[in-house]
């Protein structure tokens, strides 16, 4: 990342993501019927800013598409195009393609035109009748065109200090192209001549802007003639500042574009230069020198002032200049268009944010993890030293513990992000799925501001996508069926997130027909997943969906049922320390509920001893602890036992034997057991040797260094510096149940 251009490019793409988010927000608002000027302006600005930035990096495909999208939005803004459902849907599609293009441009992989072309065609169809000048603007490429300069004016330029010319004009100035000038005779009657006085401030150059590019853009609008002169008295050559802005251009533009198009060219340097654009009744270029060199803040053009009010319905409302802003603010707007978009274009106090490399945060998270471990070690040595609990050392240590916990929580909050961006992507999945299945569906989201760890959000994307597709494809009925059932034709998929008792719960619910349990069971029987003729509880049947190799779709549809089923979803959720469960009501719909830990870095656990090993059991998995009495334990098979817990039998699992640390005991009377309760309601009694402590532990992954260990989720470092394994009770029980646990252990022992 040493290349500054690369960095600027990278930050452009980060901004694009923000702009796309704002764009989707706006479209969302439009689809809810809020197609007022402000909303459209937000959408327009987002597209426009992406186009502007993309132009600077010559991302032609992106620029071309954004431009067409912008035209359509402009037509809406101008009132020549009215907003209806179809148009909003088209805009959504455009937004999706724009996101694709942004990503494709970022990765330097051109997007297949087969994807973009149909949408472009649709766009052109709706904007086609807007106006003739639109066609001229359809130019996809912003290929560098030679700047046409009047030779006389160059003479004038040469009259100035030669050094000046070098300062103001780039080295790669293309050869003057006189032949390329459009023939003035061809000019249509409606052509207007504008006189543009353009005097850059030093900030313009400092911001990386380049007058030449502006002139090139102008040239695309029509015939340009220019003359240049010194803005102020030139200092002597040896006092000349290389970065000073000393030149003023007077440009004469003959064009049939309207004034807003001309202003648009200068949009990104608004406030960084003295600018006046005046239509001339006379075609003759004039060069009155007295206006050049006015201070930036005072040179608002009369036209701009007239159209400055945002609510003004004038079609000529110039983009990006909806508020007459002082020079400084306008410059800021160019750099960061987000606040306007995010706050509904109402100027509000900006919340100060900093972009930080994720790696740095991770380093901080790791260090804080070390701190927590260190604090535990310190506490242990203080305890070993036998210091009384009221000694200053002990109370200082308590304070220290408190602080560490606070630091840890704050650091974790840095990593947390709202789920909004994730949910927005799901909107697209619903749109695509509803097109592919021909079912009319909409996504309703709730709790978008809920924050979860960034890694969790990233890794939720795939499972959620799959679940959303499933909801539309399998969950929702067809339109006719829905109408017949007395439901609105349009199906709803509800995606919600909420914090619930220290975990994040994400729900995907559809208002479809619910799970067809008879069919699920028969399919499971067909596929040999369960024995035929079993009588299963509703909950058990629902959970069959999570079995590997289960797919309910009668025929494999294009959308879901590609062999990756809910079992993959379940395992990716489990990998995040989460649990998934289903509730379904026939005729009313199905709801998948994912419960996730807030963070992947710490965990509240119970420290237990098994043989010589110390292990940690996640606290959220433990329902209660039991001391087994003789009447509680009943034999089941030759090597299996069950425990009676309040009139219910739960399987007894010996942790030491399950993990192969020892042979199962002959007798479990008096043993301590943890009653493990899982999301799906299944339970097991896990026998441990002793319970040592209950505390927060820092999770250290095992996957990277060693690989997956069955029944083990991760590792942690205890106060004495020893590593303790963190159990994955669900995995442990899943691997133990079915086969009798003691038998496996006996084989190991023998």
């Amino acid at each position: 990342m040493s290349d500054p251009m690369q960095e600027i490019r990278a930050s452009f793409f980060i901004e694009c993501e923000e702009l796309l988010e704002a764009l989707h927000d706006g479209l969302e608002a439009m689809s809810d019927g809020a197609a007022d000027g402000e909303t459209i302006n937000i959408v327009f600005r987002a597209v426009h800013s992406i186009k502007g930035g993309a132009g600077a990096f010559s991302l032609d495909q992106l620029v071309g598409f954004a431009h067409k999208f912008e035209n359509a939005l402009d037509a809406v803004r101008a009132g020549t195009l009215s907003v209806d459902d179809g148009l909003v849907r088209l805009f959504f599609k455009c937004g999706d393609i724009l996101s694709d293009l942004v990503r494709a441009s970022r990765d330097d992989e051109p997007l297949d035109t087969a994807i973009t072309d149909p949408v472009i065609a649709e766009l052109l169809e709706v904007t086609g009748d807007v106006g003739g000048d639109e066609e001229a603007a359809e130019e996809v490429d912003f290929a560098p065109t030679a700047l046409s300069l009047d030779l006389d004016d160059i003479g004038g330029l040469a009259g100035a200090d030669d050094a000046m010319a070098d300062l103001a004009l780039p080295d790669d100035l293309p050869p003057l192209d006189i032949a390329g000038e459009p023939d003035p005779d061809e000019a249509a009657e409606q052509e207007t001549t504008y006189r543009i006085v353009f005097s850059p401030e030093p900030e313009l150059y400092a911001g990386g802007n380049e007058p030449l590019f502006l002139f090139r853009l102008l040239q695309e609008l029509g015939k340009v003639e220019s003359s240049v002169e010194a803005t102020a008295t030139l200092p002597a050559l040896d006092e000349l500042q290389p970065n000073a802005a000393l030149l003023t251009w007077t440009l004469t533009l003959v064009t049939n574009a309207d004034v807003s198009a001309v202003e648009e060219v200068f949009e990104f340097v608004d406030g960084l230069c003295g600018l006046s654009i005046e239509p001339l009744s006379d075609d003759r270029p004039e060069h009155p020198g007295e206006e050049s060199g006015l201070p930036a803040a005072e040179t608002t053009t009369p036209i701009e002032a007239a159209t400055a009010t945002p609510s003004d319905p004038l079609p000529a409302d110039p983009p990006g200049t909806s508020q007459p802003a002082p020079a400084g603010d306008a410059g800021e707007e160019t750099e960061d268009p987000r606040p306007a978009a995010a706050s509904g274009a109402k100027p509000v106090a900006k919340s100060a944010t900093v972009r930080v490399d994720l790696e740095r945060i991770d380093r901080l998270v790791n260090l804080v993890g070390e701190l927590v471990i260190n604090q535990a070690m310190l506490a242990q040595s203080v305890a070993t030293a036998g210091l009384p609990s009221n000694s200053p050392v002990s109370s200082g240590l308590d304070e220290f513990q408190h602080l560490t916990r606070n630091i840890q929580e704050s650091v974790m909050m840095i990593r947390a992000q709202p789920v909004k961006s994730l949910f927005q992507r799901m909107g697209r999945i619903v749109r695509e799925a509803s097109t592919a299945t021909g079912k009319d569906a909409r996504l309703v989201t709730d709790g978008e501001a809920t924050e979860i760890d960034k890694t969790v959000i990233e890794r939720l994307s795939d499972p959620l996508t799959h679940m959303i597709r499933n909801a539309v494809d399998h969950g929702l009925e067809t339109g006719e069926q829905r109408v017949a059932a007395g439901k609105p034709e349009r199906g709803t998929v509800r995606l919600s997130a909420a914090h619930r008792s220290g975990r994040v719960v994400i729900e995907v619910a559809d208002d479809g027909g619910g799970i067809n349990r008879a069919r699920v069971q028969s399919i499971a029987e067909e596929k040999g997943l369960i024995a035929p003729g079993q009588s299963l509880a509703d909950q058990e049947i629902d959970n069959l969906l999570f079995l590997p190799g289960f797919s309910t779709a009668a025929e494999v549809s294009n959308l879901s049922g590609r062999g990756v089923g809910m079992d993959v979803v379940k395992s990716s959720i489990s990998a995040l320390g989460g649990r998934i469960s289903i509730t379904s009501t026939p005729g009313r719909g199905t709801c998948f509920s994912i419960s996730l830990p807030l963070t992947l870095a710490v965990l509240d656990g119970m420290v237990v001893g098994v043989e010589d090993e110390t292990m940690v059991v996640p606290l959220n998995a433990i329902a209660e602890t039991l001391t087994l009495s003789e009447t509680d334990i009943r034999p089941l098979g030759p090597q299996t036992r069950v425990v009676l817990v309040r009139d219910a039998f739960v399987p007894l699992l010996d942790l030491g034997a399950e993990l192969g640390y020892r042979a199962p005991r002959a007798d479990y009377v008096g043993s301590i057991a943890l009653l493990i309760s899982q999301e799906d309601g299944s339970r097991a009694a896990l026998v441990v040797d002793q319970i040592e402590d209950q505390r927060q532990v820092v999770i250290k992954g095992l996957q990277d260094s060693y690989g997956h260990v069955p029944g083990v989720a991760a590792a942690t470092i205890l106060g004495d510096g020893q590593i303790a394994l963190i159990l994955d009770p669900a995995d442990l029980i899943a691997n133990a149940s079915g086969k009798s646990a003691p038998e496996t252990a006996l084989q190991k022992a023998g």
Binding site: T614, Q703, D704, S705, Y706, H708, V712, Q722, L725
Partner: protein, 161 residues
Amino acid sequence: MDTITQDAPQDGKDRNEEVELLSFRIGEHEYSVDIMSVREIRGWTRATSLPRSPHYVHGVINLRGTVLPVVDLARRLGLEAEEPSERSVIIVVDLEGRTVGVRVDAVSDILSIPRGEMQPPPEMLNDDTERFVRGLIVIEDRMVRVLHLEAVLPPGTEAAA
């Protein structure tokens, strides 16, 4: 990067180029590894055993906050294994981005030998140790085996999952 891996079979390489090896002892046997893959040497600490792991995996230890798997080299090579003692040594090696500890009895020396003096191991079928040995060197009448680290280490994440 293990220079031996790349260059040993190529006779065209500069045979006089010096290779530095860290030699260590397992029982009566002397082995060595390329010093470039050694990250550090540390004393023995009790390892937390991993359930259902291969018999030659001791378990994991805490290496300044990271979880480090430790392999018992004697058991891995099928040699008579002593129980780890206070005097056992863990050589921490870096291999293709993975960091793994290898338990040996004692570290003996750093050898600097010209590349050309390393001999390929004789081909003996039915001998498992052959795939663990990359080459042989003779130093003062002692034979030192050059260990094939990749073969010794436990399967990575892909294989285990």
